[in-house]
Amino acid sequence: MTQDELRELYRELILDHARSPRHFGKLNNVSHMAEGINPLCGDKLKLYFRIGENKVIEDATFEGSGCAISVASASLLTDTVIGLTTCQAMDYFSAISELLVGTRSDAAGDKADVDLGKLKALQGVREFPARVKCATLAWHGLHSAIQQRNAPVSTE
Protein backbone atom coordinates (compact mmCIF):
# COMPACT_ATOMS: atom_id res chain seq x y z
CA MET A 1 0.00 0.00 0.00
CA THR A 2 1.18 3.44 -0.74
CA GLN A 3 0.36 6.78 0.75
CA ASP A 4 -2.01 7.36 -2.16
CA GLU A 5 -4.78 5.52 -0.38
CA LEU A 6 -4.26 7.63 2.70
CA ARG A 7 -4.37 10.75 0.54
CA GLU A 8 -7.55 9.42 -1.01
CA LEU A 9 -9.05 8.94 2.46
CA TYR A 10 -7.89 12.29 3.79
CA ARG A 11 -8.62 14.42 0.74
CA GLU A 12 -8.25 18.15 1.07
CA LEU A 13 -12.02 18.58 1.08
CA ILE A 14 -12.37 16.13 3.99
CA LEU A 15 -9.60 17.78 5.98
CA ASP A 16 -11.11 21.19 5.28
CA HIS A 17 -14.52 20.15 6.60
CA ALA A 18 -12.90 18.42 9.58
CA ARG A 19 -10.92 21.52 10.50
CA SER A 20 -13.69 24.01 9.79
CA PRO A 21 -16.95 22.16 10.10
CA ARG A 22 -19.91 23.94 8.54
CA HIS A 23 -23.17 24.42 10.43
CA PHE A 24 -21.50 23.54 13.71
CA GLY A 25 -23.43 24.35 16.87
CA LYS A 26 -26.91 24.34 18.29
CA LEU A 27 -30.03 25.24 16.32
CA ASN A 28 -33.07 27.27 17.33
CA ASN A 29 -36.55 25.82 16.94
CA VAL A 30 -35.39 22.29 16.43
CA SER A 31 -38.09 19.93 15.21
CA HIS A 32 -36.01 16.78 14.81
CA MET A 33 -32.79 15.67 16.40
CA ALA A 34 -30.63 12.60 16.84
CA GLU A 35 -27.57 11.56 18.76
CA GLY A 36 -24.99 9.28 17.21
CA ILE A 37 -22.39 7.36 19.18
CA ASN A 38 -19.48 5.31 17.93
CA PRO A 39 -18.40 3.38 21.03
CA LEU A 40 -15.30 2.06 19.28
CA CYS A 41 -13.60 5.44 19.08
CA GLY A 42 -15.80 7.59 21.27
CA ASP A 43 -17.25 9.72 18.48
CA LYS A 44 -20.32 11.53 19.74
CA LEU A 45 -22.43 13.69 17.44
CA LYS A 46 -25.72 15.48 17.93
CA LEU A 47 -27.63 16.48 14.84
CA TYR A 48 -30.36 19.12 14.85
CA PHE A 49 -32.92 19.69 12.11
CA ARG A 50 -35.71 22.17 11.59
CA ILE A 51 -38.17 20.53 9.25
CA GLY A 52 -41.16 22.57 8.03
CA GLU A 53 -44.75 21.57 7.48
CA ASN A 54 -43.96 20.81 3.85
CA LYS A 55 -41.25 18.36 4.97
CA VAL A 56 -38.51 20.66 3.76
CA ILE A 57 -35.37 20.70 5.89
CA GLU A 58 -35.10 24.41 6.57
CA ASP A 59 -31.92 24.23 8.62
CA ALA A 60 -29.53 21.66 10.02
CA THR A 61 -26.60 21.82 12.42
CA PHE A 62 -24.50 19.42 14.43
CA GLU A 63 -22.19 19.43 17.41
CA GLY A 64 -20.00 16.98 19.22
CA SER A 65 -16.57 15.51 18.76
CA GLY A 66 -15.14 12.89 16.51
CA CYS A 67 -12.42 11.94 14.11
CA ALA A 68 -11.79 13.81 10.86
CA ILE A 69 -13.95 11.39 8.90
CA SER A 70 -17.00 11.57 11.15
CA VAL A 71 -16.84 15.35 11.56
CA ALA A 72 -16.30 15.95 7.84
CA SER A 73 -19.13 13.59 7.01
CA ALA A 74 -21.49 15.39 9.40
CA SER A 75 -20.39 18.76 8.02
CA LEU A 76 -20.98 17.62 4.44
CA LEU A 77 -24.32 16.15 5.47
CA THR A 78 -25.65 19.39 6.92
CA ASP A 79 -24.32 21.30 3.92
CA THR A 80 -26.16 18.91 1.62
CA VAL A 81 -29.56 18.43 3.21
CA ILE A 82 -30.52 22.04 3.93
CA GLY A 83 -33.28 22.90 1.47
CA LEU A 84 -34.05 19.30 0.60
CA THR A 85 -37.26 17.48 1.43
CA THR A 86 -36.95 14.62 3.90
CA CYS A 87 -37.58 12.23 1.00
CA GLN A 88 -34.73 13.73 -0.99
CA ALA A 89 -32.49 13.60 2.09
CA MET A 90 -33.27 9.92 2.50
CA ASP A 91 -32.25 9.40 -1.12
CA TYR A 92 -28.86 10.82 -0.19
CA PHE A 93 -28.71 8.55 2.85
CA SER A 94 -29.32 5.60 0.57
CA ALA A 95 -26.77 6.76 -1.99
CA ILE A 96 -24.13 7.33 0.70
CA SER A 97 -24.77 3.85 2.09
CA GLU A 98 -24.27 2.45 -1.36
CA LEU A 99 -21.12 4.48 -1.90
CA LEU A 100 -19.55 3.39 1.38
CA VAL A 101 -20.73 -0.14 1.97
CA GLY A 102 -21.96 -1.12 -1.47
CA THR A 103 -25.46 -1.96 -0.32
CA ARG A 104 -28.45 0.20 -0.90
CA SER A 105 -30.50 1.03 2.15
CA ASP A 106 -34.14 0.02 1.92
CA ALA A 107 -35.14 3.10 3.82
CA ALA A 108 -35.32 5.34 0.79
CA GLY A 109 -36.92 3.04 -1.69
CA ASP A 110 -35.48 2.71 -5.17
CA LYS A 111 -34.98 6.22 -6.35
CA ALA A 112 -31.49 6.80 -5.10
CA ASP A 113 -30.13 8.09 -8.37
CA VAL A 114 -28.82 11.25 -6.83
CA ASP A 115 -25.74 13.17 -7.81
CA LEU A 116 -23.53 12.97 -4.77
CA GLY A 117 -21.35 15.86 -5.88
CA LYS A 118 -18.82 16.74 -3.20
CA LEU A 119 -20.05 13.86 -1.03
CA LYS A 120 -18.02 11.66 -3.37
CA ALA A 121 -15.00 12.86 -1.40
CA LEU A 122 -16.04 10.29 1.19
CA GLN A 123 -15.48 7.37 -1.14
CA GLY A 124 -11.86 6.83 -0.05
CA VAL A 125 -13.31 5.39 3.16
CA ARG A 126 -14.32 2.27 1.23
CA GLU A 127 -10.72 1.05 1.34
CA PHE A 128 -10.69 1.34 5.13
CA PRO A 129 -13.43 -0.97 6.43
CA ALA A 130 -12.67 -0.06 10.06
CA ARG A 131 -13.56 3.54 9.28
CA VAL A 132 -16.82 3.11 7.37
CA LYS A 133 -18.77 3.51 10.59
CA CYS A 134 -17.16 6.90 11.18
CA ALA A 135 -18.41 8.12 7.81
CA THR A 136 -21.91 6.71 8.19
CA LEU A 137 -22.49 7.84 11.80
CA ALA A 138 -24.05 11.20 10.97
CA TRP A 139 -26.10 9.69 8.16
CA HIS A 140 -27.63 7.14 10.52
CA GLY A 141 -28.40 10.10 12.77
CA LEU A 142 -30.19 11.81 9.88
CA HIS A 143 -32.19 8.65 9.24
CA SER A 144 -33.08 8.34 12.91
CA ALA A 145 -34.06 12.00 13.22
CA ILE A 146 -36.33 11.87 10.20
CA GLN A 147 -37.94 8.71 11.56
CA GLN A 148 -38.22 10.60 14.87
CA ARG A 149 -36.72 7.80 16.88
CA ASN A 150 -35.63 9.02 20.25
CA ALA A 151 -33.00 6.43 21.10
CA PRO A 152 -29.41 7.40 20.29
CA VAL A 153 -28.02 5.61 17.26
CA SER A 154 -24.90 3.57 17.79
CA THR A 155 -22.54 2.19 15.21
CA GLU A 156 -22.27 -1.04 17.18
Binding site: L15, K44, G66, A68
Partner: protein, 418 residues
Protein backbone atom coordinates in the same frame (compact mmCIF):
# COMPACT_ATOMS: atom_id res chain seq x y z
CA UNK B 1 1.38 -35.89 29.54
CA UNK B 2 2.82 -33.08 27.61
CA UNK B 3 6.02 -31.70 28.99
CA UNK B 4 6.38 -28.08 28.12
CA UNK B 5 9.60 -27.65 26.30
CA UNK B 6 11.67 -24.59 26.78
CA UNK B 7 12.12 -23.44 23.23
CA UNK B 8 12.47 -19.75 23.90
CA UNK B 9 15.40 -18.09 22.23
CA UNK B 10 15.53 -15.57 25.04
CA UNK B 11 18.21 -15.86 27.63
CA UNK B 12 18.70 -13.85 30.74
CA UNK B 13 20.83 -11.17 29.16
CA UNK B 14 19.20 -7.92 28.25
CA UNK B 15 20.83 -7.74 24.86
CA UNK B 16 19.30 -10.98 23.66
CA UNK B 17 15.81 -10.00 24.79
CA UNK B 18 15.55 -8.32 21.41
CA UNK B 19 15.62 -11.86 20.01
CA UNK B 20 12.32 -12.58 21.77
CA UNK B 21 10.48 -11.26 18.77
CA UNK B 22 11.29 -14.48 16.92
CA UNK B 23 9.40 -16.49 19.55
CA UNK B 24 6.12 -14.84 18.50
CA UNK B 25 4.90 -16.11 15.13
CA UNK B 26 2.17 -13.45 14.77
CA UNK B 27 4.81 -10.73 14.74
CA UNK B 28 6.40 -12.22 11.65
CA UNK B 29 4.07 -10.77 9.04
CA UNK B 30 3.50 -7.74 6.90
CA UNK B 31 0.56 -5.43 7.45
CA UNK B 32 -0.21 -3.19 4.49
CA UNK B 33 3.14 -4.16 2.96
CA UNK B 34 5.12 -3.14 6.05
CA UNK B 35 6.62 -5.47 8.67
CA UNK B 36 4.26 -5.46 11.64
CA UNK B 37 5.16 -3.30 14.62
CA UNK B 38 2.84 -4.36 17.42
CA UNK B 39 2.40 -1.68 20.08
CA UNK B 40 -0.94 -2.78 21.52
CA UNK B 41 0.04 -5.35 24.11
CA UNK B 42 -1.83 -3.53 26.87
CA UNK B 43 -5.01 -4.50 25.01
CA UNK B 44 -3.84 -8.04 24.31
CA UNK B 45 -0.36 -9.46 23.92
CA UNK B 46 0.77 -11.90 21.26
CA UNK B 47 1.55 -15.51 22.14
CA UNK B 48 4.93 -17.21 21.88
CA UNK B 49 5.20 -20.56 20.09
CA UNK B 50 5.69 -22.30 23.42
CA UNK B 51 2.19 -21.21 24.52
CA UNK B 52 0.60 -22.04 21.18
CA UNK B 53 2.31 -25.44 21.15
CA UNK B 54 1.35 -26.25 24.74
CA UNK B 55 -2.31 -25.54 24.00
CA UNK B 56 -2.16 -27.45 20.74
CA UNK B 57 -0.41 -30.43 22.31
CA UNK B 58 -2.97 -30.53 25.12
CA UNK B 59 -5.82 -30.47 22.60
CA UNK B 60 -4.19 -33.12 20.42
CA UNK B 61 -3.14 -35.57 23.11
CA UNK B 62 -4.45 -34.91 26.60
CA UNK B 63 -7.93 -33.43 26.50
CA UNK B 64 -10.74 -34.76 28.68
CA UNK B 65 -12.76 -33.28 31.53
CA UNK B 66 -10.95 -32.53 34.76
CA UNK B 67 -11.54 -33.92 38.26
CA UNK B 68 -14.06 -36.41 36.95
CA UNK B 69 -12.78 -39.54 35.33
CA UNK B 70 -10.65 -42.50 36.27
CA UNK B 71 -9.45 -42.85 32.71
CA UNK B 72 -6.01 -41.82 31.54
CA UNK B 73 -6.97 -38.71 29.58
CA UNK B 74 -9.01 -37.29 32.43
CA UNK B 75 -6.03 -37.83 34.67
CA UNK B 76 -3.72 -36.09 32.18
CA UNK B 77 -6.11 -33.17 31.78
CA UNK B 78 -6.38 -32.79 35.55
CA UNK B 79 -2.61 -32.86 35.92
CA UNK B 80 -2.21 -30.25 33.20
CA UNK B 81 -4.86 -28.00 34.71
CA UNK B 82 -3.66 -28.30 38.28
CA UNK B 83 -0.05 -28.09 37.12
CA UNK B 84 -0.86 -24.71 35.62
CA UNK B 85 -2.33 -23.63 38.95
CA UNK B 86 0.87 -24.59 40.71
CA UNK B 87 2.86 -22.47 38.27
CA UNK B 88 0.68 -19.46 39.11
CA UNK B 89 1.11 -20.11 42.84
CA UNK B 90 4.86 -19.90 42.48
CA UNK B 91 4.77 -17.03 39.95
CA UNK B 92 2.88 -14.66 42.28
CA UNK B 93 4.14 -16.31 45.48
CA UNK B 94 0.73 -17.26 46.83
CA UNK B 95 0.76 -19.09 50.13
CA UNK B 96 -1.02 -22.13 48.71
CA UNK B 97 -2.90 -23.43 45.69
CA UNK B 98 -6.11 -22.99 47.69
CA UNK B 99 -5.71 -19.24 47.12
CA UNK B 100 -5.54 -19.35 43.32
CA UNK B 101 -8.90 -19.42 41.52
CA UNK B 102 -9.13 -19.74 37.75
CA UNK B 103 -11.56 -17.24 36.23
CA UNK B 104 -12.30 -16.12 32.69
CA UNK B 105 -10.18 -13.03 33.26
CA UNK B 106 -9.69 -9.96 35.43
CA UNK B 107 -13.25 -8.80 34.88
CA UNK B 108 -14.79 -12.00 36.19
CA UNK B 109 -12.36 -12.06 39.10
CA UNK B 110 -13.44 -8.56 40.19
CA UNK B 111 -17.11 -9.39 39.75
CA UNK B 112 -16.58 -12.49 41.87
CA UNK B 113 -15.17 -10.40 44.72
CA UNK B 114 -17.97 -7.83 44.38
CA UNK B 115 -20.71 -10.43 44.54
CA UNK B 116 -19.26 -13.09 46.86
CA UNK B 117 -17.12 -11.08 49.24
CA UNK B 118 -18.71 -7.64 49.35
CA UNK B 119 -22.38 -8.08 48.63
CA UNK B 120 -23.30 -10.23 51.65
CA UNK B 121 -21.57 -7.85 54.04
CA UNK B 122 -22.63 -4.49 52.59
CA UNK B 123 -25.44 -2.27 53.74
CA UNK B 124 -26.77 1.11 52.69
CA UNK B 125 -24.29 3.78 53.72
CA UNK B 126 -21.24 1.53 53.30
CA UNK B 127 -18.59 2.61 50.81
CA UNK B 128 -16.24 1.18 48.22
CA UNK B 129 -13.24 3.35 47.34
CA UNK B 130 -11.65 3.26 43.88
CA UNK B 131 -9.49 5.78 41.99
CA UNK B 132 -10.15 8.03 39.01
CA UNK B 133 -7.78 6.07 36.77
CA UNK B 134 -9.48 2.68 36.96
CA UNK B 135 -10.39 0.57 33.94
CA UNK B 136 -14.14 0.14 33.50
CA UNK B 137 -13.80 -3.41 34.83
CA UNK B 138 -12.78 -1.94 38.20
CA UNK B 139 -15.62 0.59 38.14
CA UNK B 140 -18.77 -1.05 36.79
CA UNK B 141 -18.81 -4.15 39.08
CA UNK B 142 -18.81 -1.75 42.05
CA UNK B 143 -21.54 0.40 40.54
CA UNK B 144 -23.67 -2.73 40.17
CA UNK B 145 -22.88 -3.68 43.76
CA UNK B 146 -23.85 -0.20 44.96
CA UNK B 147 -27.17 -0.42 43.13
CA UNK B 148 -27.80 -3.79 44.75
CA UNK B 149 -26.89 -2.76 48.29
CA UNK B 150 -27.42 0.99 48.56
CA UNK B 151 -23.70 1.42 49.14
CA UNK B 152 -21.76 4.35 47.76
CA UNK B 153 -18.83 4.41 45.32
CA UNK B 154 -16.17 6.94 46.28
CA UNK B 155 -13.50 7.96 43.77
CA UNK B 156 -10.03 9.14 44.75
CA UNK B 157 -8.69 11.95 42.53
CA UNK B 158 -5.67 11.95 40.22
CA UNK B 159 -3.31 14.79 39.36
CA UNK B 160 -2.25 16.24 36.00
CA UNK B 161 0.51 13.67 35.68
CA UNK B 162 -2.01 10.86 36.03
CA UNK B 163 -0.95 9.91 39.55
CA UNK B 164 -3.37 9.04 42.30
CA UNK B 165 -3.47 11.75 44.94
CA UNK B 166 -2.53 9.82 48.02
CA UNK B 167 -3.63 12.11 50.86
CA UNK B 168 -7.18 12.63 49.56
CA UNK B 169 -7.40 8.86 49.03
CA UNK B 170 -6.29 8.11 52.59
CA UNK B 171 -8.78 10.69 53.89
CA UNK B 172 -11.54 8.71 52.19
CA UNK B 173 -10.69 5.53 54.09
CA UNK B 174 -13.12 5.99 56.96
CA UNK B 175 -15.01 3.47 59.07
CA UNK B 176 -17.73 3.02 56.44
CA UNK B 177 -15.35 1.75 53.75
CA UNK B 178 -15.68 -1.98 53.12
CA UNK B 179 -13.08 -2.32 50.34
CA UNK B 180 -10.38 -0.37 48.55
CA UNK B 181 -10.15 -1.48 44.90
CA UNK B 182 -7.19 -0.10 42.94
CA UNK B 183 -5.21 -0.74 39.80
CA UNK B 184 -1.59 -1.77 40.17
CA UNK B 185 -0.76 -0.15 36.81
CA UNK B 186 -3.12 2.16 34.88
CA UNK B 187 -3.99 0.75 31.46
CA UNK B 188 -4.56 4.18 29.89
CA UNK B 189 -1.74 6.15 31.54
CA UNK B 190 0.85 3.59 32.58
CA UNK B 191 1.04 5.03 36.11
CA UNK B 192 2.31 2.54 38.68
CA UNK B 193 0.39 2.92 41.92
CA UNK B 194 2.16 2.58 45.29
CA UNK B 195 0.00 -0.42 46.08
CA UNK B 196 2.11 -1.82 48.89
CA UNK B 197 1.93 1.30 51.01
CA UNK B 198 -1.74 1.85 50.17
CA UNK B 199 -2.51 -1.71 51.26
CA UNK B 200 -0.65 -1.12 54.50
CA UNK B 201 -2.55 2.13 55.12
CA UNK B 202 -5.89 0.47 54.35
CA UNK B 203 -5.12 -2.49 56.62
CA UNK B 204 -4.24 -0.17 59.48
CA UNK B 205 -7.83 1.04 59.18
CA UNK B 206 -9.21 -2.50 58.93
CA UNK B 207 -10.06 -2.18 55.22
CA UNK B 208 -9.35 -5.06 52.80
CA UNK B 209 -7.82 -4.28 49.40
CA UNK B 210 -8.39 -5.63 45.89
CA UNK B 211 -5.67 -4.95 43.32
CA UNK B 212 -6.46 -5.02 39.59
CA UNK B 213 -3.16 -6.38 38.33
CA UNK B 214 -4.05 -6.90 34.67
CA UNK B 215 -1.47 -4.36 33.50
CA UNK B 216 1.16 -5.18 36.13
CA UNK B 217 1.69 -8.93 35.98
CA UNK B 218 3.16 -8.94 32.43
CA UNK B 219 5.67 -6.23 33.32
CA UNK B 220 6.63 -6.34 37.01
CA UNK B 221 7.46 -9.06 39.49
CA UNK B 222 4.35 -9.46 41.66
CA UNK B 223 4.58 -11.05 45.11
CA UNK B 224 1.14 -11.16 46.68
CA UNK B 225 2.46 -12.04 50.12
CA UNK B 226 4.89 -9.18 50.07
CA UNK B 227 2.13 -6.78 48.94
CA UNK B 228 -0.16 -8.34 51.55
CA UNK B 229 -3.14 -7.67 49.25
CA UNK B 230 -6.38 -9.45 50.05
CA UNK B 231 -7.36 -9.95 46.42
CA UNK B 232 -5.29 -9.73 43.24
CA UNK B 233 -6.87 -10.14 39.80
CA UNK B 234 -5.19 -10.56 36.42
CA UNK B 235 -5.70 -11.91 32.89
CA UNK B 236 -3.85 -14.48 30.81
CA UNK B 237 -4.11 -12.71 27.47
CA UNK B 238 -2.12 -9.67 28.54
CA UNK B 239 0.82 -11.84 29.64
CA UNK B 240 1.32 -13.93 26.48
CA UNK B 241 -1.37 -16.46 27.41
CA UNK B 242 -4.72 -17.20 25.76
CA UNK B 243 -7.93 -15.20 26.12
CA UNK B 244 -10.71 -16.43 28.39
CA UNK B 245 -8.46 -17.36 31.29
CA UNK B 246 -7.44 -15.32 34.29
CA UNK B 247 -6.74 -15.52 37.98
CA UNK B 248 -8.24 -14.37 41.21
CA UNK B 249 -5.76 -14.63 44.04
CA UNK B 250 -7.40 -14.27 47.44
CA UNK B 251 -6.28 -14.89 50.98
CA UNK B 252 -7.49 -18.28 52.10
CA UNK B 253 -9.19 -16.98 55.25
CA UNK B 254 -11.34 -14.68 53.11
CA UNK B 255 -12.19 -17.30 50.49
CA UNK B 256 -13.23 -19.69 53.27
CA UNK B 257 -15.88 -17.24 54.46
CA UNK B 258 -17.19 -16.34 51.02
CA UNK B 259 -20.22 -18.07 49.50
CA UNK B 260 -19.80 -19.55 45.99
CA UNK B 261 -20.08 -17.11 43.08
CA UNK B 262 -21.81 -19.55 40.75
CA UNK B 263 -23.35 -22.97 41.30
CA UNK B 264 -22.80 -26.04 39.18
CA UNK B 265 -20.62 -29.06 38.72
CA UNK B 266 -17.15 -29.37 40.22
CA UNK B 267 -17.84 -26.86 43.00
CA UNK B 268 -19.73 -29.40 45.13
CA UNK B 269 -18.87 -32.33 47.37
CA UNK B 270 -22.36 -33.72 47.71
CA UNK B 271 -25.67 -32.70 46.21
CA UNK B 272 -29.12 -33.78 47.27
CA UNK B 273 -32.41 -32.00 46.92
CA UNK B 274 -32.21 -31.34 50.62
CA UNK B 275 -29.01 -29.36 50.25
CA UNK B 276 -25.51 -29.22 48.88
CA UNK B 277 -22.10 -29.42 50.48
CA UNK B 278 -19.62 -27.21 48.68
CA UNK B 279 -16.25 -28.35 47.52
CA UNK B 280 -13.00 -27.32 49.08
CA UNK B 281 -10.96 -24.31 47.97
CA UNK B 282 -10.36 -23.22 45.31
CA UNK B 283 -12.92 -25.45 43.55
CA UNK B 284 -15.83 -23.86 45.41
CA UNK B 285 -15.33 -20.92 43.03
CA UNK B 286 -14.86 -22.91 39.82
CA UNK B 287 -18.35 -24.09 38.90
CA UNK B 288 -18.69 -26.00 35.65
CA UNK B 289 -16.07 -27.37 33.30
CA UNK B 290 -13.28 -24.82 33.32
CA UNK B 291 -11.17 -23.40 30.48
CA UNK B 292 -8.63 -26.23 30.70
CA UNK B 293 -6.66 -25.44 27.56
CA UNK B 294 -6.61 -21.78 28.56
CA UNK B 295 -5.10 -22.72 31.91
CA UNK B 296 -2.50 -24.88 30.14
CA UNK B 297 -1.61 -21.95 27.90
CA UNK B 298 -1.40 -19.61 30.87
CA UNK B 299 0.93 -22.05 32.60
CA UNK B 300 3.16 -22.05 29.53
CA UNK B 301 3.10 -18.25 29.47
CA UNK B 302 4.27 -18.20 33.09
CA UNK B 303 7.10 -20.57 32.13
CA UNK B 304 8.04 -18.24 29.30
CA UNK B 305 8.16 -15.16 31.53
CA UNK B 306 9.98 -16.93 34.33
CA UNK B 307 12.56 -18.24 31.92
CA UNK B 308 13.39 -14.68 30.89
CA UNK B 309 13.10 -13.46 34.46
CA UNK B 310 10.74 -10.69 35.49
CA UNK B 311 13.63 -8.43 36.50
CA UNK B 312 14.96 -8.65 32.94
CA UNK B 313 11.50 -8.03 31.51
CA UNK B 314 11.10 -4.90 33.61
CA UNK B 315 14.58 -3.62 32.79
CA UNK B 316 14.15 -4.11 29.04
CA UNK B 317 10.69 -2.57 28.97
CA UNK B 318 11.73 0.43 31.05
CA UNK B 319 14.58 1.07 28.66
CA UNK B 320 12.25 0.86 25.67
CA UNK B 321 9.64 3.01 27.43
CA UNK B 322 12.20 5.69 28.22
CA UNK B 323 13.36 5.66 24.61
CA UNK B 324 9.76 5.91 23.38
CA UNK B 325 8.91 8.75 25.72
CA UNK B 326 11.97 10.78 24.72
CA UNK B 327 11.47 10.15 20.98
CA UNK B 328 7.82 11.21 21.26
CA UNK B 329 8.75 14.27 23.32
CA UNK B 330 11.12 15.32 20.53
CA UNK B 331 8.16 15.72 18.19
CA UNK B 332 6.98 19.33 18.28
CA UNK B 333 3.31 19.05 18.84
CA UNK B 334 2.94 15.95 20.98
CA UNK B 335 0.94 16.17 24.18
CA UNK B 336 1.82 13.37 26.57
CA UNK B 337 -1.11 11.99 28.53
CA UNK B 338 0.18 10.23 31.63
CA UNK B 339 3.54 11.43 32.90
CA UNK B 340 3.64 9.76 36.29
CA UNK B 341 7.01 9.56 38.03
CA UNK B 342 6.75 5.80 38.09
CA UNK B 343 5.40 4.19 34.92
CA UNK B 344 5.22 0.87 33.14
CA UNK B 345 5.02 -0.03 29.46
CA UNK B 346 2.42 2.50 28.29
CA UNK B 347 2.51 5.95 26.71
CA UNK B 348 -0.69 7.72 25.76
CA UNK B 349 -0.44 10.86 23.66
CA UNK B 350 -2.09 13.28 21.26
CA UNK B 351 -0.42 14.53 18.08
CA UNK B 352 -1.40 18.10 17.26
CA UNK B 353 -5.12 18.28 16.67
CA UNK B 354 -5.25 14.96 14.85
CA UNK B 355 -7.97 12.78 16.30
CA UNK B 356 -6.54 9.56 17.76
CA UNK B 357 -8.73 7.47 15.49
CA UNK B 358 -7.28 9.10 12.40
CA UNK B 359 -3.79 8.50 13.78
CA UNK B 360 -4.64 4.85 14.31
CA UNK B 361 -5.64 4.44 10.67
CA UNK B 362 -2.58 6.23 9.32
CA UNK B 363 -0.26 4.19 11.54
CA UNK B 364 -1.94 0.91 10.66
CA UNK B 365 -1.49 1.80 7.03
CA UNK B 366 2.25 1.77 7.76
CA UNK B 367 2.13 -1.50 9.67
CA UNK B 368 2.16 0.06 13.14
CA UNK B 369 -0.58 -1.22 15.47
CA UNK B 370 -1.53 1.08 18.34
CA UNK B 371 -4.70 1.45 20.35
CA UNK B 372 -6.80 4.56 19.93
CA UNK B 373 -9.84 5.67 21.86
CA UNK B 374 -10.86 5.77 25.48
CA UNK B 375 -9.15 2.51 26.51
CA UNK B 376 -12.14 1.48 28.64
CA UNK B 377 -11.23 4.32 30.96
CA UNK B 378 -13.68 7.08 30.00
CA UNK B 379 -13.36 8.93 33.35
CA UNK B 380 -9.62 9.33 32.65
CA UNK B 381 -10.41 10.88 29.25
CA UNK B 382 -12.94 13.22 30.89
CA UNK B 383 -10.27 14.26 33.42
CA UNK B 384 -7.90 15.31 30.65
CA UNK B 385 -10.74 16.81 28.59
CA UNK B 386 -10.08 14.65 25.55
CA UNK B 387 -12.23 12.14 23.65
CA UNK B 388 -9.47 9.56 23.62
CA UNK B 389 -5.77 9.10 23.12
CA UNK B 390 -3.36 7.26 20.92
CA UNK B 391 -1.68 4.67 23.10
CA UNK B 392 1.49 2.78 22.35
CA UNK B 393 2.07 -0.08 24.77
CA UNK B 394 5.09 -2.33 25.06
CA UNK B 395 5.94 -5.93 25.75
CA UNK B 396 9.27 -7.73 25.86
CA UNK B 397 9.22 -8.28 22.09
CA UNK B 398 9.37 -4.53 21.39
CA UNK B 399 12.65 -2.71 20.92
CA UNK B 400 14.00 0.64 19.82
CA UNK B 401 13.52 -0.11 16.12
CA UNK B 402 9.76 -0.41 16.79
CA UNK B 403 9.81 3.03 18.36
CA UNK B 404 11.68 4.45 15.37
CA UNK B 405 8.97 3.03 13.10
CA UNK B 406 6.29 4.57 15.33
CA UNK B 407 7.90 8.00 15.15
CA UNK B 408 8.37 7.72 11.40
CA UNK B 409 4.68 6.81 11.00
CA UNK B 410 3.65 9.76 13.16
CA UNK B 411 5.67 12.05 10.92
CA UNK B 412 3.75 10.71 7.92
CA UNK B 413 0.51 11.46 9.77
CA UNK B 414 1.64 15.00 10.27
CA UNK B 415 2.47 15.36 6.60
CA UNK B 416 -0.98 14.14 5.60
CA UNK B 417 -2.77 16.44 8.00
CA UNK B 418 -0.51 19.27 6.91
Amino acid sequence: MNQLSNNSTCSDSTTSIAECRADFPALDQKINDHPLVYLDSAASSQQPSSVIDAVSSYQKHDHANVHRGVHTLSHRATEAYEGARDKIVSFINANSRREVVFTSGTTQAINLVAQSFCRPRMRAGDKIVITHLEHHSNIVPWQLLCEQTGAELTVAPIDEKGQVEILPLLAMLDENVRLLAIAHVSNALGSVLPVKSLISEAHSRGIPVLVDGAQAVPHLAVDVQDLDCDFYAFSGHKMFGPTGIGILYAKEALLEKMPPYQGGGDMILEVSFGGTTFNDLPYKFEAGTPNISGAVGLGAAVDYLQNIGMANVTRHEQETLNYMTSRLADLDDVRMIGTADEKASVQSFMLGDIHPHDLGTILDHQGVAIRTGHHCAMPVMDFFGIPGTARASLAIYNGKSDIDRLVQALQTARTIFG
